[in-house]
């Protein structure tokens, strides 16, 4: 019964979407027709503390459970503080967004920029996504 329940939870959590931030910029529809453009970059986020805590719960021996529990607490302390989503191992993954956006708009006139910070969560691992949707004035 427990296995069925846990499997159901895992399946339900598979690819859960999370929305952190939405920002809409000025929208100019007065200069001509618009073409939708979009850029998305992502990086793997990993919740090490939660993973270790799960390992501690699943450990068969008492000592392993204690050690993993201590490790989970230490990892949680390393990652405490304000944050958005899971920590990633590359702090520059969102830097190429502007260049990619420009490449999709030949006229160079971009309006209606939507900055969306979201994530796809797969248990303790997540895809931390930055998406920029916009309109190119043709």
């Amino acid at each position: 019964m427990l296995r069925v329940f846990l499997t159901s939870i895992v399946l339900m959590c598979a690819s859960c979407a999370r929305l952190d931030h939405v920002q809409i910029s000025d929208i100019d529809q007065s200069q001509g027709p618009l073409k939708a453009i979009s850029v998305k970059v992502s990086n793997v986020g990993f919740d090490a503390a939660a993973t270790t805590a799960i390992a501690a719960d699943l450990a068969s021996s008492e000592s392993a459970r204690d050690n993993l529990g201590d490790l989970a607490a230490i990892l949680a302390m390393f990652n405490m503080g304000p944050r958005t989503g899971n920590p990633v191992y590359n702090d520059r993954y969102a830097e190429g967004l502007l260049q990619q956006l420009k490449q999709q708009c030949e006229s160079g006139k971009i309006t209606a920029i939507r900055n969306i910070r979201e994530a796809k969560s797969y248990g303790t691992i997540s895809g931390e996504i930055v998406r920029i949707d916009a309109d190119c004035i043709i």
Binding site: L19, H21, D26, D28, Q29, A112
Partner: protein, 105 residues
């Protein structure tokens, strides 16, 4: 005693069903000089226990906002992203408003 329990149950139920709002993000763009024609749009979705696989409702808000200022320029856009928690269900919502200025005025 039964009346007291009934009152307490009604109080708890009414409080939990009303929902608690958390404001996730707010942004504002440059305000125009002419601020006469304010338009607003919102879009939302309901998710059970937070399980969802998409954030497409954001696009609906933008499309609705655009449709209210066809051929014009929308500036001073205030965007709010908020989540309302009901019992086991969450309402995710994007509310956007801005000033529409057209060539016709």
């Amino acid at each position: 005693m039964k009346k007291l329990i009934g009152c307490m149950a009604a109080f708890i139920v009414s409080n939990t069903l009303v929902g608690c709002v958390s404001l996730n993000s707010v942004s504002l763009t440059q305000l125009p000089e002419k601020r006469e024609h304010l338009v607003s749009a919102s879009a939302s979705d309901l998710v059970f226990l937070g399980f969802t696989s998409q954030n497409d409702f954001v696009d609906e808000a933008v499309t609705a906002l655009k449709s209210k200022c066809v051929g014009g320029k929308l500036t001073g856009i205030l965007t709010k992203h908020q989540t309302t928690a009901y019992v086991l269900v969450f309402k995710r919502e994007v509310i956007a408003s801005g000033y529409c200025n057209t060539a016709a005025g």
